[in-house]
């Protein structure tokens, strides 16, 4: 016999005038290898079909299902209930706009983030469609991929002290993105241009160094290292700028 799990789930449908923020309780028999994806789907289909939450790939690849699980942001699809106590409290991610219950609007936030950091290869070169590709060292390609593994789930933003206090803080996800492009020789932006993007309190200098992002990241990205490297580079860039070194 499995455990009888107790789920406390945040409920609020902003579009329903009869709805006000509260917690609903559901019970579920625990089965082998039960994940929060399976559990929430069973609750919706068997107990309350109005329950809102987001899943997509259900394999930890797409980043849809981040929520606060017993006080800690994480991907629900890859959270096994056997790793949790019998009482499980689920809340929507903070910082992002609530759509309803456990569902938040990450799409708008990330589009704006990608826009702000210029998350693309900036180049003056044109593409010759018949030419061979430019060469790249495989080790560098792997280094770029390491940072490119971010799935924009929002956990690092939701767990960030600064982001929770200040709406304009870019968060570790944006800084990691810039670090990715700084590694990439195809991106022709120079240090000063990167500085323009992140050399402010909204960017790297807003980071208080609490590093929940590093602890929480479901893809285990090396955020602590990247934040450190960026802070050093950008700090040095600020000094150079101050004294007009070239």
């Amino acid at each position: 016999m499995g455990r009888r799990l107790k789920f406390n789930i945040f409920r609020y449908n902003p579009l329903d005038s009869d709805s006000s923020p509260h917690t609903d309780t559901f019970f579920l028999e625990e089965t082998d290898s039960l994940t929060l994806f399976i559990a929430l789907t069973q609750i919706r289909e068997g107990q309350d079909p109005s329950l809102q939450f987001d899943f997509c790939c259900r394999a930890g690849i797409c980043g849809s299902c981040a929520m606060v699980i017993n006080g800690r942001p994480g991907l629900a699809c890859k959270t096994l209930t056997k790793e949790l106590p019998m009482e499980i409290t689920l809340m929507p991610l903070p910082v992002f706009k609530l759509i309803g219950d456990l569902s938040v609007d990450t799409g708008t936030w990330f589009r704006s983030m990608n826009d702000k950091v210029g998350s693309w290869i900036h180049t003056e070169k044109g593409l010759d469609p018949d030419a061979r590709e430019e060469r790249m060292d495989n080790a560098l390609a792997e280094e770029i991929y390491e940072l490119e593994r971010c799935v924009e789930c929002g956990c690092c933003v939701a767990s960030c002290g600064t982001a929770n206090m200040r709406e304009d803080f870019m968060g570790a996800v944006a800084l990691n993105r810039i670090a990715r492009f700084m590694l990439d020789p195809r991106d022709e932006r120079d240090e000063r241009e990167y500085f323009q993007v992140i050399g402010t309190d909204e960017g790297i200098f807003g980071c208080m160094g609490l590093l929940a992002c590093e602890d929480i990241c479901p893809k285990n990205l090396p955020l602590q290292d990247q934040l450190g490297i960026l802070r050093r580079k950008m700090g040095w860039s600020a000094v150079k700028h101050l004294f007009r070194f070239k």
Partner: protein, 612 residues
């Protein structure tokens, strides 16, 4: 009535949809992409292993070219594909992969010197030339004569999608996420947009466009056991079929992937076997080489899935509470390889199975994976039946896959079809104007609002939508799976017709206010059962075995009678689809022959019986 105008409406913002939008935006047209999830969550991101393009830069790809890629694709399709399209595809793939490199993909590159690789569990040596150092490299995949699959570790779909969406952001293409098209706006001749339900508010909105593209991916979720994301429920195919005019091509062509993990059906990439992983049975012995001496684990997916099922039926499966399964073994590839080239696989095994693939076996069995089927288009991507309507990617039956898609050819299709069809849509838009009929738009909006009201008030009945979906999924899984026969297929059709009747009587149990998830499924369920009936009925009629469509009662591939493509339409009020047929290909550059793998009994075009 809230209305939005644009030149091109892309329904779906995965790789194919966004690639088309990029092409249109670059040419100066206004494109809007709709997506039911934020675009970077699209299922393209879950494609792991790679993208085929015949660059021939790595030593095991030496001598590769577009002709070899073309031939592999035709053989893979079991001569069920459109050869003109396969030719366009193979010729464009190298350009498309290089374009993606230019836009920022960190493709894995050729490392010169000696290295080892595994095949069939044995170790071999290879030497990469220093001349090709730093060019895009490739890995081995099933059904290919050369190592041709370009990759970024095992997150290729992810990097492609992020890079494509970066391009979309750079160009300022609008993506309206959490927006779901629930019907097409058309007058029986021309398509002028779609009625769209906002998944943040539940409100309806009309999108009017000169050209409309369906790029919503596959419909795997009509099956119970599928590797697909929860969003792959056939939304695009459903609204096309609902027109009564636009056909679904080869609805019965459904692919099962050999390595879904048990019990969750999450995919582990074909790259595992491409890189030298093996399949083992209950005695931890290899078996594929006994069935397929030449290709072994790397025969095409339809063939490997069939032999796996056969081997389990013969009693060689591993017993588990979730039914019998087999093992995938990648232990011998070593820690370094797994941690750099198969990272997502390692993560999936750790998280969902509690298995460490460096030291332990992975439980696998075939699961539904891909729909070669889709909205039938011509080689320009224009849908049959309605002017101004296009389709691309898995949602389309452009038809380069026929009855079996090769691994690595789906990511490649999204990028290539997006580019090719994007160019054709730009040509179309340049010479085209259309009048928007406000009465037509109002009527379409009113019809959908009325549908919603009926469901919310349970006017037609109180059937539980989840019960109906489960019954449909079970029917397909149990009777329209890897092996098929006339008796089971007939039963599936009969049962699905009953399920279809029940689907007319669904009612909401919740209040339907706002972004109500139950209403989302209720609006689609009748369409999903119609698709399920298209799959089953077309499978019942096709009395031959071709690619993934394996009939136990008609074991031969029958080129005399069935070198044809099914076209399924649904006339209003009917309880079964109308099936028509067309020749598979106007051009037969590679005449029908043996694939070189798989059981090969063939009835030739002139009626001769060849093979066992």
């Amino acid at each position: 009535m809230e209305t939005e105008f644009c030149d091109l409406l892309c329904i779906g913002a995965g790789l194919a949809g966004e690639r088309v939008a990029v092409e249109a935006a670059t040419a100066g047209f206004q494109a809007i992409c709709l997506s039911i999830v934020p675009p970077r969550r699209s299922h393209s991101s879950a494609a792991q292993g790679g993208m085929q393009a015949s660059l021939g830069s790595c030593i095991m790809g030496d001598g590769d070219n577009t002709d070899v890629h073309f031939k592999d694709t035709i053989k893979g399709s079991d001569w069920g594909c459109d050869q003109e399209v396969a030719r366009i595809f193979a010729n464009t793939a190298p350009k498309a992969v290089r374009e993606m490199a230019f836009w920022g993909i960190p493709w894995n590159r050729v490392v010169p010197g000696n290295s080892t690789y595994f095949k069939g569990g044995k170790k071999f040596e290879k030497v990469e030339s220093s001349e090709n150092e730093g060019l895009i490299t490739a890995r081995d995949f099933g059904g290919t004569a050369k190592w041709r699959t370009c990759y970024t570790s095992d997150g290729t779909g992810h990097t492609l999608l992020y890079t494509m969406d970066n391009k979309v952001v750079e160009l300022g293409v609008k993506v309206h996420d959490r927006m779901e098209a629930i019907s097409l706006i058309h007058d029986g001749e021309t398509c002028t947009g779609a009625v769209v339900r906002c998944l943040k508010t539940g409100n309806l909105k009309a999108y009017l466009a000169k050209a409309t593209l369906i790029a919503t991916g596959g419909y795997g979720k009509i099956y119970r056991e599928s590797t697909n994301a929860v969003i792959n429920d056939g939304g695009g195919a459903i609204i096309a079929l609902d027109t009564g005019i636009v056909p679904i091509g080869n609805p019965e062509a459904i692919q099962f992937h050999p390595t879904g993990i048990v019990p969750t059906n999450i995919l582990v990439t074909e790259g595992c076997r491409g890189d030298g992983g093996t399949l083992l049975d209950v005695d931890e012995k290899r078996f594929m080489h006994e069935y397929e001496p030449e290709k072994a684990e790397l025969a095409s997916r339809d063939v490997v899935s069939r032999w796996m099922t056969h081997h389990i039926r013969e009693g060689h499966g591993v017993k588990s509470p979730y039914g019998d399964h087999l093992w995938l073994d990648i232990r011998h590839l070593g820690k370094k390889h797994i941690k750099t080239k198969l990272r997502e696989v390692e993560e999936i095994c750790n998280n969902f199975l509690g298995v460490d693939p460096i030291t332990q076996l992975i439980p696998v069995r075939p699961a539904q994976h891909y729909t070669m089927a889709g909205v039938r288009t011509n080689k320009d991507g224009a849908a049959y039946g309605l002017k101004g309507l296009f389709a691309a990617g898995e949602a389309a039956c452009w038809d380069m896959h026929g009855f079996n898609r090769l691994g690595g050819n789906s990511l490649a299709e999204t990028i290539v079809a997006g580019k090719v069809i994007g160019e054709k849509i730009v040509e179309f838009l340049k010479g085209y104007d259309v009048a928007f009929d406000t009465g037509l738009v109002k009527g379409a909006m009113a019809r959908d609002q009325e549908r919603i009201n009926r469901f919310v008030s349970s006017k037609d009945g109180h059937e539980n939508v989840y019960d109906i979906r489960n019954a449909m999924q079970d029917e397909l899984m149990d009777r329209v799976g890897i092996f098929r026969n006339g008796k089971d297929l007939q039963k599936a059709v009969d049962n699905l017709q009953e399920i279809y009747e029940r689907a007319q009587k669904v009612g909401l149990r919740s209040n339907g206010v706002g972004a109500n998830p139950e209403l989302g499924l209720v609006l689609k369920i009748q369409g999903m059962v119609r698709l399920a009936l298209c799959v089953s009925y077309a499978a019942l009629q096709r009395t031959e075995s071709r690619g993934c469509h394996a009939r136990e009662d008609y074991e031969a591939r029958n080129d005399r009678d069935w070198l044809s493509r099914t076209l399924a339409t649904w006339k209003e009020g009917d309880t079964l689809p109308t099936l028509d047929y067309e020749p598979v290909s106007k051009v037969m550059e590679l005449p029908p022959g043996s694939r070189g793998y798989g059981a090969s009994k063939i009835i030739s075009q002139d009626g001769e019986v060849i093979g066992a």
